[in-house]
């Protein structure tokens, strides 16, 4: 039996190996079939001319990307997307942090659940609600008129100079609660002892936030900024429901442009080429953000 000891360990090793592999398998298959395969095949589609229906694909190399460079509607969409993403990321995080600090106090604790309701609603419902509120005779304008501010009443979604910002507001309304809850988790993870020590040192409220709370919730800050940036760069549902990219192209984002190219103009090859570019942009931005933001994270 002693002789076989080596084989025995080898056998167990192999067996654990297979067991490990089997445990990994289901998740990996799902990942490969529903994520990796489509992503990789879309790289291929971006090199073709395809109408989305015909079984035959025509390989055209990098022609789609070449065309993209000269497509001014693509640049409009890109500019709109960045404007949207930057505004959403900044405002959503500031508001989310303020709300999180507010609901930490016992007085406003009950509001936590309330602020979490919008993220739970579907974007379609929220888009419809906000569309009604923004309508020329909708709730927003009615409230303004009621308050004697008729002068401020606007065609919120019909005015090309306002429409994008109206969408930003709806987006922030939906997702700020989510940012809040992540910040709240970060705040609650700070050990009481640190706050006590700070009190003994005699800090005021602002100093405590500036030197204790804010540095210690850096991980929450990182994840929130990255998530809201990625989320708003990929925004589709709210825009599609509320303006479909209009009026004209005033609220066209990269995703609505991809959709209109691929599904409305039947140019799947071109649509996927835009998607590939968007993928590259988001990947690069996320890596840069992660690099800089994780550097400033400290441990309690």
């Amino acid at each position: 039996m002693g002789l076989r000891n080596a084989t025995w360990t080898n056998n167990t090793r192999l067996r654990t190996l297979i067991t490990d592999a089997l445990f990994l398998l289901p998740a990996f298959v799902v990942f490969a079939v529903f994520f990796a395969y489509p992503v990789i095949s879309s790289f291929y589609f971006s090199l073709t001319k395809w109408d989305g229906i015909n079984p035959e694909l025509k390989f055209i190399g990098l022609a789609n990307f070449q065309k993209l460079m000269g497509d001014r509607h693509f640049w409009t969409a890109l500019r709109n997307t960045f404007r949207y993403a930057i505004l959403v990321t900044v405002i959503q995080n500031v508001l989310g942090l303020i709300l999180a600090l507010a609901v930490t106090s016992k007085v406003y604790r009950g509001f936590r659940v309330l602020f979490l309701v919008p993220p739970l609603l579907s974007s379609i419902a929220i888009g419809s609600i906000w569309s009604y509120m923004y309508a020329p005779n909708g709730a927003v304008n009615s409230l303004l008129t009621l308050a004697g501010l008729e002068g401020l009443a606007q065609d919120w979604l019909g005015n090309p100079r306002l429409a994008l910002y109206s969408l930003v507001v709806a987006n922030i309304w939906k997702w700020t609660g989510m940012a809040m809850i992540i910040y709240l988790a970060g705040i609650q993870a700070i050990p009481k002892t640190i706050h006590e020590a700070a009190s003994i040192d005699g800090v005021d409220v602002w100093q405590r936030f500036r030197h204790v709370t804010f540095p210690l919730i850096a991980p929450a800050f990182t994840i929130n900024v990255v998530l809201s940036m990625i989320g708003s760069l990929k925004v589709f549902d709210i825009i599609y429901i509320m303006t479909q990219g209009g009026p004209g192209r005033a609220t066209e984002s990269i995703t609505t442009y991809i959709f209109s190219r691929a599904f409305e103009a039947n140019k799947f090859g071109y649509g996927t080429a835009i998607a590939v570019v968007m993928f590259a942009i988001i990947l690069a931005l996320s890596l840069i953000q992660l690099h800089f933001l994780t550097r400033r994270e400290v441990r309690a």
Binding site: F28, V33, P55, A135, D155, L157, G158, G246
Partner: protein
């Protein structure tokens, strides 16, 4: 430890890759089924004949169409139930999507080899890519083909073959509130100048002359569509042919004047406030509440108007985009069609189902509910009284909705262009240039 994980993940990758490699063709169905289905794309007879022998076996036909939102629960269900009564072994399962998303869903399903047995396609050039790819069954030999109206048949043809069955026609005109016209002592206008005078009189009475919902992109095209038959096609019936031949362009066509007059209506204040922020639904609200007097729309809007304001007496007249003495041509076209998938497993049952639809009693039932004009000869559906007012003008002359003869892709550019022009982000000239470019790019 590290090495073990590396080997484990490599093993998993290999397993996953070999699992992926097998279903490489789009369908993830059982291998036997996909082999069988590959053949019928080119009309494999034997397999299908074998199936029709067991005709009394229960058969389920999947029917996918966009008209369900208004009619699915009522009219379509009744038609399907009646068909089931007469053909007890066949059950039709109806599914629907709204017009906006329908085309995307059906395209995806066709590309994924998941075609419904029976489905709707949009008339004219829009369905040509599907016919070209071999997804549609040739229906030229069907008994109902001879009963189609000529104008309806044209938009069902691909390379001379009838590929789909037109079921209804729609007209675009000016729907108006007869009470407002009577109160102000106004007559139905028959020239563009009279139309402007009528609008001015309504505006002076403090009512919006016209409701316009430009936020819904498809609404933007209706006024040009109503103008074009009189402005272009009455005198230049070969305009589209010249466009295909590269001998004409939008920029140098009456389109420039049409768009200028469209904007002129806005500048004179003849539309409701902020048309760009108003959608189709809201525009019908304005009509129903009496805040607007006229609405350039298809006859389909009457259903929703009667729903919202059952007490208002509605009328309809053709948009008089003409000088005195000229004929007004109407924009009228096939709205919906039904076709059969080339790869259906039940071709006989599907053809019987289409023939059932083409039967006069069923057609009249459908058209009466839909308040639409017939695509078949010798039918007398109960038309909406307002829509019926369009029948005499239709005799004068009509032309299909413009995009039905256009290459795909031009319409989308036009819809965005009109919004941009109204938003002041683009000039009419730029918009027409983009439409010309889209035509050149997409015409084959």
């Amino acid at each position: 430890m590290k090495l073990r994980w590396l080997i484990a993940s490599l093993l998993v990758t290999l397993l996953a890759l070999s699992a992926c490699a097998a279903p490489a063709p789009p369908a993830a169905e059982a291998p036997a089924a996909s082999q069988e289905e590959a053949a019928p794309a080119e009309e494999a007879a034997p397999a299908e004949e074998a199936k029709s022998e067991e005709a009394m076996e229960p058969v389920v036909l999947e029917f996918y169409h966009w008209f369900g939102a208004d009619l699915g629960e009522t009219t379509i269900k009744e038609i399907n139930d009646r068909f089931h009564e007469e053909n007890p072994n066949v059950t039709v399962e109806f599914e629907t999507a709204d017009t906006g998303t329908y085309e995307q869903v059906i395209n995806t399903r066709l590309a994924a080899d998941d075609a419904p047995d029976i489905f709707g396609v949009f008339p004219g050039t829009k369905f040509h890519p599907k016919a070209k790819a071999g997804f549609l069954m040739d229906l030229s030999d069907q008994p109902w083909v001879d009963n189609l109206l000529d104008g309806a048949k044209v938009v069902a043809l691909y390379q001379g073959k009838v590929m789909t069955m037109p079921i209804d026609q729609n007209v675009i005109g000016v729907i108006y509130n007869k009470q407002i016209f009577a109160d102000l002592g106004l007559e139905v206008p028959t020239t563009w100048d009279e139309f402007l005078q009528v609008s001015e009189a309504i505006k002076e009475a403090g009512i919006a002359p016209m409701a316009l919902g430009l936020k819904s992109a498809w609404v933007t095209q209706l006024i040009p569509y109503a103008m074009a038959p009189s402005a272009i096609y009455r005198d230049m019936p070969d305009f589209d042919a010249k466009m295909y031949a590269g001998e004409a362009s939008f920029v140098d066509s009456p389109w420039a004047q049409m768009m200028a007059d469209y904007l002129d209506l806005r500048d004179r204040g003849y539309f409701n406030d902020s048309p760009l922020g108003t959608d189709y639904n809201l525009s019908t609200d304005l009509m129903a509440s009496g805040d607007a007097a006229m609405l350039v729309q298809g006859n389909w809007a009457l259903a929703s108007l009667r729903d919202k304001a059952p007490d208002i007496e509605w009328g309809m007249f053709p948009l008089p985009y003409v000088q005195p003495g000229q004929d007004i041509w109407v924009s009228a076209a096939v709205g919906g069609t039904i076709t059969i998938s080339a790869s259906t497993e039940h071709p006989e049952e599907a053809k019987a189902y289409l023939a059932f639809w083409a039967r006069p009693d069923i057609m009249e039932l459908y058209l009466t509910q839909k308040r639409a004009f017939p695509a078949f000869k010798n039918l007398n559906p109960e038309l909406d009284p307002a829509a019926a007012e369009m029948l005499p003008p239709l005799e004068v002359g009509s032309y299909p909705f413009l995009d039905q003869n256009w290459p795909p892709g031009v319409q989308g550019v036009m819809l965005e262009g009109i919004q941009s022009v109204f938003a002041g982000e683009m000039t009419v000239e730029e918009m027409l240039q983009e439409m010309d470019a889209a035509w050149a790019e997409n015409a084959e």
